[in-house]
């Protein structure tokens, strides 16, 4: 929890463009074991993720996932207002998909625990195939119950409540092209700011020229996101994909996300992926890097996730497929490696590790490397 804005302690049901299972067909039986590493901005996070999915009677599919983050943080927020720390987050989830005719009903439950934050989320979704199975419509709802604590204050505990409503459509356009669209509204209520984080304000009595006081956020937050995507099979065996998302919320943030990908098999055993992602957002109405005085506004935030910034990401992946048969129940397997490099450039969040008159420090930026190594088997 520490030093992160917790807006979304929620399982956003496996709907939308990327995660929705096709209606009319249950997901394949498979198991994935992934090891992930994130390194950037003074933060190292690594850990495993294990997912197992198994169907029964060709009508029901059960999926379980265990995930862990081991965090070692000396981010700019931590080194400027607190002390580096280490912590673990553990998460597990359980889901059931039931197929009846051309309709798939899905139930999911997710539980996340860390030293100062608990999150429990339940979700339901329904997918329906129609028009000769060219169209799939998905409706989803999820509800999250969360508890925010503060490690240095055992008396502090505040609840938050999250609800998500979503609708998605995927449409086969031609034998080479599929398009999708998704809309999702998420609403939160409760203690939404980070209990550790501070805002900065001008203070002539301080040696640095500024001081800190705790952030104060609104107790409600509602967001709307609309996304479209498409994937096209090229004349040779390869595919290109594109996705765009428009986001807006009641805190004044407007964001655009665009993603373009290319997938190319090589010989019979390899698949290579490459994609680029662009993200840009405007700052929240109550964000400021430097407030003019203490208690300048009723709501105040200096979380860099609320700032104006651009982000760019370049991703590369390789998959090697190996045949099944050993052991006998394995039909096939893959070994996968993926690397992503991400750039973050902030437009109104300053690097106060540099000594300079308040408000003239250089703007903050950082880069991150993300590694994933995973094995998958189908059975």
């Amino acid at each position: 929890m520490r030093y992160r804005l917790h807006w979304l302690p929620v399982l956003v049901a496996l709907i939308g463009i990327g995660g929705r299972a096709a209606a009319g067909v249950l997901p394949e039986d498979r198991a994935d074991l992934l090891y992930h590493v994130y390194d950037g901005g003074g933060v190292q996070i690594d850990g495993p993720s294990l997912l197992v999915r198994k169907s029964f009677l060709e009508k029901i599919s059960v999926v379980g996932n265990y995930y862990m983050d081991m965090v070692s943080s000396a981010s700019i927020d931590v080194v400027t207002t607190a002390s580096p720390y280490k912590e673990r987050r553990k998460q597990w989830s359980l889901g059931v998909d039931a197929l009846r005719g051309k309709t798939t009903y899905s139930l999911n439950y997710i539980n996340s625990r860390e030293s100062d934050y608990d999150a429990d989320t339940a979700s339901f979704s329904l997918s329906q195939d129609m028009f000769g199975d060219l169209t799939t419509v998905t409706l989803g709802f999820s509800r999250g119950w969360n508890k925010v604590r503060r490690n240095n204050d055992p008396t502090f505990e505040e609840p938050t409540d999250t609800r998500s409503y979503s609708v998605g459509v995927s449409q086969i356009i031609t034998k080479n092209l599929i398009l999708g669209a998704a809309f999702e509204t998420i609403t939160d209520e409760g203690f939404l700011n980070n209990p550790y984080r501070s805002v900065r304000y001008l203070d002539p009595t301080s040696g640095t020229g500024y001081s800190f006081q705790p952030e104060v956020y609104p107790h409600t937050h509602t967001s709307n996101a609309f996304a479209i995507n498409g994937k096209y099979y090229l004349p040779f065996r390869a595919a290109i994909s594109g996705e765009y998302r428009y986001y807006t919320d009641t805190w004044g943030i407007v964001a655009h996300t665009a993603d373009f990908g290319y997938t190319m098999p090589w010989q019979k055993k390899w698949i290579f992926d490459a994609d680029v992602r662009f993200y840009t957002q405007d700052h929240a109405d109550f964000f400021s890097d430097l407030f003019p005085r203490a208690d300048a506004q009723n709501f105040e935030g200096r979380d860099k996730e609320l700032a104006t910034f651009d982000s760019y990401a370049l991703g590369l992946g390789a998959t090697y497929e190996f045949p099944g048969g050993r052991p006998r129940f394995v039909q096939k397997g893959t070994l996968n490696f993926r690397f992503d490099h991400i750039w973050f450039d902030y437009k109104d969040f300053r690097d106060i590790r540099v000594s300079a008159p308040p408000g003239t420090e250089p703007l903050y930026s950082f880069e991150a490397n993300v590694f994933q190594l995973f094995a998958s088997i189908w059975f």
């Binding site: 929890m1 992160r4 917790h6 302690p9 929620v10 399982l11 956003v12 049901a13 496996l14 939308g16 990327g18 929705r20 992934l34 901005g41 993720s49 997912l51 983050d69 965090v71 981010s75 998460q91 997710i110 996340s112 625990r113 934050y117 028009f131 000769g132 060219l134 998500s164 979503s166 086969i172 034998k175 080479n176 999708g180 998704a182 809309f183 999702e184 998420i186 967001s223 709307n224 996101a225 609309f226 996304a227 994937k231 099979y233 065996r237 595919a239 998302r245 919320d249 964001a255 190319m264 698949i271 957002q281 929240a284 982000s311 990401a313 996968n336 973050f344 994933q372 995973f374 998958s376």
Partner: protein
Amino acid sequence: MRRFAPALLGLALLTLAGCSGVEPWVKPYERDRLADPIMSLNRDPVSAAYMAHVFEAREGARGAVGSAGGGCGCN
């Protein structure tokens, strides 16, 4: 907006009524390319969920991109 609501509702109903007789223009036997794993929108769910979490923890935007987890692992 209220003035247009009946017209929009009528248009939606007409559209749905029209669709009921739609013949699938891509036949099942023509979907071999769409069934190719390289055309999957979510070929590796565990990896996609992880990347969604990486971005969501560091960006203001959220939603409409598939699955995401709760809790932290961030800044």
